[in-house]
Amino acid sequence: MKFNSTKIRIEGFNQLKLLSTLQKEEVRVFEVDKQSPRILTLIIQKKDSRKVLAILEKMCYTWSIISVFDTKTILKGCVKRLGLIITALICTIAFSFSYSFIWRIDIGGNEKVDELIIQRMLDDVGVRVGTFSRRVDADALINSFNALDDVLMSSVQMRGTTLVIRLVETIDYAPPDIPSFADIHSRYDAEITRMIVHEGTPMVTLGERVFKGDILVGAHTMDFYGLEKIPSSASARIYGRVAFSKTVIFNETSFSLQRTGRRHVSDEYNIFGLRFGSSSHDFLRYEYERKQITLFENFFIPLRTNRTIYYEVELIEYTKDINAHAEMLKTEFVQDMVIHANSSPIAASHVLTPIGQGIYRLSVFVETELLIS
């Protein structure tokens, strides 16, 4: 519909005569729509309204104004929807305003560099959630990240309200195996179980007992007659049965923490970096579980709640099953061996000795096959 125009519904016969009369009166009509032989709708310019209505009255047509489109109707419409317009305006301003801040920090690509280190670096330059995004000096941050030992390159950029930090870390290459031009010595007291010698002369035999520091493979070969040593590199993998032991002293009685059934729920709200709503408890000893719920993420109201549930606990004294506890300690030791020595144990045993007054000494012995060269 054109601006400053009126849409009229006209009812009556001889519509052509009406159109012809309007033309004679130099009234320009728009969007003529013959809806039925009796009903016609058309649009006229607002300035012609008085003239057209007079013609319609004179020609005895039944007419009605369907709509008027001018400044007044626009203003009326705006007044009717004032609440909506103001709300939309406030939302737009709030939305634009919130876009000037950082509401999320997304750190990625870091495996060697701990996220806490990056967060501390951001804290040092005053960049955190709720900071004005223009305060972020991306180049300075990139330079400081790149200065970290394990970082090859980095990028810092704002995507909406999220500060995106990506790191590319350096790759560690294992140094190539360099043949040793020195003798290979044993790293443990052991009984030789397997020998794979690539270069050099073996100085021990299978089943032989060796001590830490003993020469396993000599960095030489013998001449044709077996009389003279010719220096060479030594390269070998020698495995041996190695025994480890560990002694632990423990008490028959022990204490454990048990929940009494009393609990306290504390909800803390976090909006624009402000925290409020947390409440305290009167428990002497307690455990707690914490859960963070983000109500709006990447939205202009970044509301988060931290729910902490405190459980009151008390110390309960109890007597251990000595044999079961000894077995558990032994299992722990064996598992430690598997992790640290990277080897499966061949045999494990233990000796439990009571010292007196409910105190016991546990000695655990584990035998395993290890690379001793």
Binding site: L16, Q23, R28, F30, V32, K34
Partner: protein
């Protein structure tokens, strides 16, 4: 068969496709018959504009008047100088 379909057939055109579009006959510049338009966009003494599915037809001249108006068909009388279709 309608007049327009018969003409389309004689000219070897697809009569169905032609029938779904618009047709114009100019009677010696004294009257024009147009069918296949969607709406009369504007009427005044010197110009009558008809809306098509795609584009519009502008009939320009002097002393133009609507002699007949039915759904999708119009007869315009007067001193017709030009019937122009704009896509």
């Amino acid at each position: 068969m309608s007049f327009f379909s018969e003409v389309a057939k004689t000219m070897g055109l697809d009569s169905l496709r032609i029938a779904s579009g618009y047709q114009v006959i100019n009677y010696n510049g004294e009257a024009a018959y147009v069918e296949g338009f969607v709406q009369v966009l504007s009427i005044d003494n010197n110009e009558i504009v008809l809306k098509l599915k795609k584009g519009k037809i502008v009939i320009s001249g002097e002393n133009l008047s609507v002699a007949s108006l039915e759904t999708g068909a119009i007869i315009v009388k007067g001193n017709i100088k030009e019937v122009k279709s704009e896509r």
